[in-house]
Symmetry: C2
Subunit: 448 residues, 2 copies
């Protein structure tokens, strides 16, 4: 039997695990420096929690887990007879795999509302599953890294999340542009154009600007029966670079003015923050997801073309669907898989050591081998990752293993070394070797 | 809609995540100090990979993932008609959730055999899923922490894994007894009793010794039609404390002698190793899993009754089922969930801070609030986890939040502090407060 992996899933080799861990650890340390708390939710959620939260398309992409035991016993007889796959699901499957971290977080907040303090600042770095058609750079199992605050409508948090983006990408070595907009400004634009009743359709069209360009958006809007004069107004206002230029057009749009005021307050916090990356207003930023209600964000890498590597925004009501009303929240997400690809292409992992051990001990005979086993612990206790070759076979074979694993230092122990206690240490890069006491070796390797 | 969790699954609150992370980080650091490399495998494996590897009972406990789309379209018509749940599975589900880390590891080794070096030392800390009936301390979703070496039959690795147990539990603060035995010694005992042809049945009986006691095992063996004289021999030999006392009984058992020799070689490595815990020979240790062929291990906590919190052993052929023959391996597993329970009961988490932020900044007005937003970054850049209360509301409300979150230090900024640059720092435990520059605060909090 030749083993295979399910499509859209991946194994990670040690060198990949270490690079990915570097990304997660960096983002985690930034989250924690701002006082965000980690939570974890189960991989399997009740299907009733997940279904209906991601639109019809999302429901299709949920992975459903078959009930255990004699699941057909309680199956919907009519659906079975009709061979209606869709209709049968709820009677043979009550669990599904997490589709994102936002809905589980909302459920968590509702279920644990008496165990947490509001505003609740949480981060979560876990996998999610989507039955999307796999393609280059898109998998069915992948990580999300989210930070959210619920229970406060302070715009300080919008500024804080911007600073988190700025700091994290700076620490990862990726130069980025952090774009912001406000759904209320988008609404103001539709109001200025006299077509606010079509707000949702229009934002869906605007969301495609990156892909289909201005002319494409014009056609889409016209196809949606937006009058061409209104289209002109919208496309003109989407070119504004300075929010002050929207004050006049928004003269009679209360919501638009609110959006401008929120943006100004958000920016006031950032005025004394020294950002390492560009933070720019982009009125064309729409974010398809309809649950955003205020400020929205998107992050793109400056030195490489790779879609967005982060995004988020404010939602007025996250937990209402689970019975807890009036809890406003704001959050951002890091696109870990794309960040990995960006860093790989930009060579930003070059300093991440893929090497498992700093040193390996090779021996000439059985007695030396036992001696090596004991001595290795002196090195490990001093924080030096140390391997012992499993048996005193031919030195050439042992050397070959050390070489192929790329272990940078080799200690060789023969009779002489055992007697004197001074071990031969070879630097595999320079090829130089000399004899040292364990203490000297610890000093030498510990300071590297 | 009132949200719920699927049975046997759990949310983890921040304080739990931090305690669990401490366990994983400690074990990981020990694995890495011995040169073990991390790998990760997908949560979903092909059902063909998983099925038939865990016995009939295991197959029942696998979570199966429903195929996406119109899954009934390709369903086995006959199985559908018969309402045969078991028979239908393979035609409507091709993926399952990982049941352990061993089988995915075997698959990994076979699929990546040209990308890794043998002996391959890997560790893996990931979740697994089993549709067991949930009960206290037993969940359907839980973590396993495994370290294995494949591609070497050196007994040094048995000693190394023992040292890893010893070091890791020492670092976690749990006093343990590491028990070892060898399946070949068990075989020798059955050979000495003249009933080696019933080896597998007998080990299954012996495995129950802890639960049903000696008399229980006697009854089980007799129920299995083992003659009472043979039972006497077995029960006598299971009482041996010193392996040398088995030399005579094993005079005509080649396998038994091999087991003794392997044990002696394993012990020779440990002779110069200073263990912090007891490492003891236990001939009654059987380990139910039939794939073990040599040395076997089990770890129990000394100061609390809690079953085994670790186990492992050598298997002569792990990857054969996937087409790669002759690869011997040895591995150990840490029972992370039980280790958590042990540490909780022994109060070993008391030093793990459950606090998210070291300091929170409270402010009196809008201007101070913007100032606080900027100043907070000076603290974060110095490695101090810092929160800013989201708005300058009544000081009492802000204080209440700081208190309920258990944040140990509070900085208060009003007009006076902003002008002088000397901020009021309050130690929440002592209640004392004084004014300091940011630099002084960093020095004060950084050295705590």
């Amino acid at each position: 039997m030749k083993p295979t992996l399910p499509k859209g899933t991946r194994d990670f080799l040690p060198s990949e695990v270490k690079k990915r861990r570097y990304i997660f650890d960096t983002i985690r340390s930034v989250f924690e420096s701002y006082g965000y708390d980690p939570i974890e939710t189960p991989v399997m959620e009740s299907l009733t929690t997940l279904t209906g939260k991601y639109g019809d398309e999302g429901d299709q992409l949920l992975f459903k887990v078959l009930n255990n035991g004699d699941y057909l016993n309680k199956a919907d007889a009519k659906a079975l007879e009709e061979k209606n796959s869709q209709k049968l699901i709820s009677s043979i499957s009550k669990r599904g795999l997490r589709y994102d971290l936002t809905v589980p977080f909302a459920r968590f907040v509702v279920m644990h509302q008496n165990e947490i303090q509001f505003p609740f600042k949480r981060y979560q770095i876990q996998q999610v599953w989507r039955a999307d058609r796999p393609q280059k750079g898109r998998y069915q199992e992948f990580y999300q890294c989210d930070a959210d605050i619920v229970g406060s409508d302070s715009l300080m948090y919008e500024a804080e999340l911007t600073a988190i983006y700025d700091t994290a990408f700076y620490k990862l070595g990726i130069s980025v542009t952090i774009k912001y907009n406000n759904r209320k400004i988008l609404y103001g634009i539709t109001e200025a154009a006299g077509v606010a009743d079509r707000f949702r359709d229009i934002t869906v069209c605007i969301d495609k600007l990156d892909k289909i360009g201005e002319e494409g958006v014009r056609k889409e809007l016209e196809k949606n029966s937006i009058e061409s004069m209104a289209v002109d107004v919208i496309l003109t206002l989407l070119k504004v670079k300075d929010i002050n230029d929207l004050i006049l057009p928004f003269e009679s749009s209360e919501t638009g003015q609110e959006g401008l005021n929120e943006t100004k307050e958000f920016l006031s916090y950032l005025s004394s923050y020294n950002s390492k990356n560009s933070i720019v207003f982009d009125p064309t930023l729409a974010r398809g997801l309809s649950y955003y209600t205020g400020c929205i964000f998107e992050v793109v890498a400056d030195d490489i073309v790779m879609g967005s590597i982060g995004g988020g925004g404010r939602y007025a009501d996250l937990t209402g669907v689970f019975g807890l009303k009036g809890v406003s929240g704001v959050g951002v997400s890091f696109g870990a898989e794309r960040i990995y690809d960006v860093m790989l292409e930009l060579g930003l992992f070059d300093d991440i050591s893929a090497v498992s051990s700093q040193v390996i001990i090779l021996t000439f005979d059985k007695e030396c081998h036992s001696y090596a086993f004991a001595k290795a612990n002196d090195l490990r206790n001093a924080g030096i990752e140390t391997e012992v070759y499993p048996s005193p076979v031919k030195m050439k074979k042992q050397m070959k293993y050390a070489n192929s694993k790329g272990i940078p230092n080799v200690i060789i122990i023969g009779d002489e070394e055992m007697k004197s206690g001074r071990l031969t240490l070879k630097d595999m890069e320079s090829g130089k070797s000399d004899q040292y006491s364990i203490k000297e070796i610890i000093e030498k390797l510990g300071t590297k």
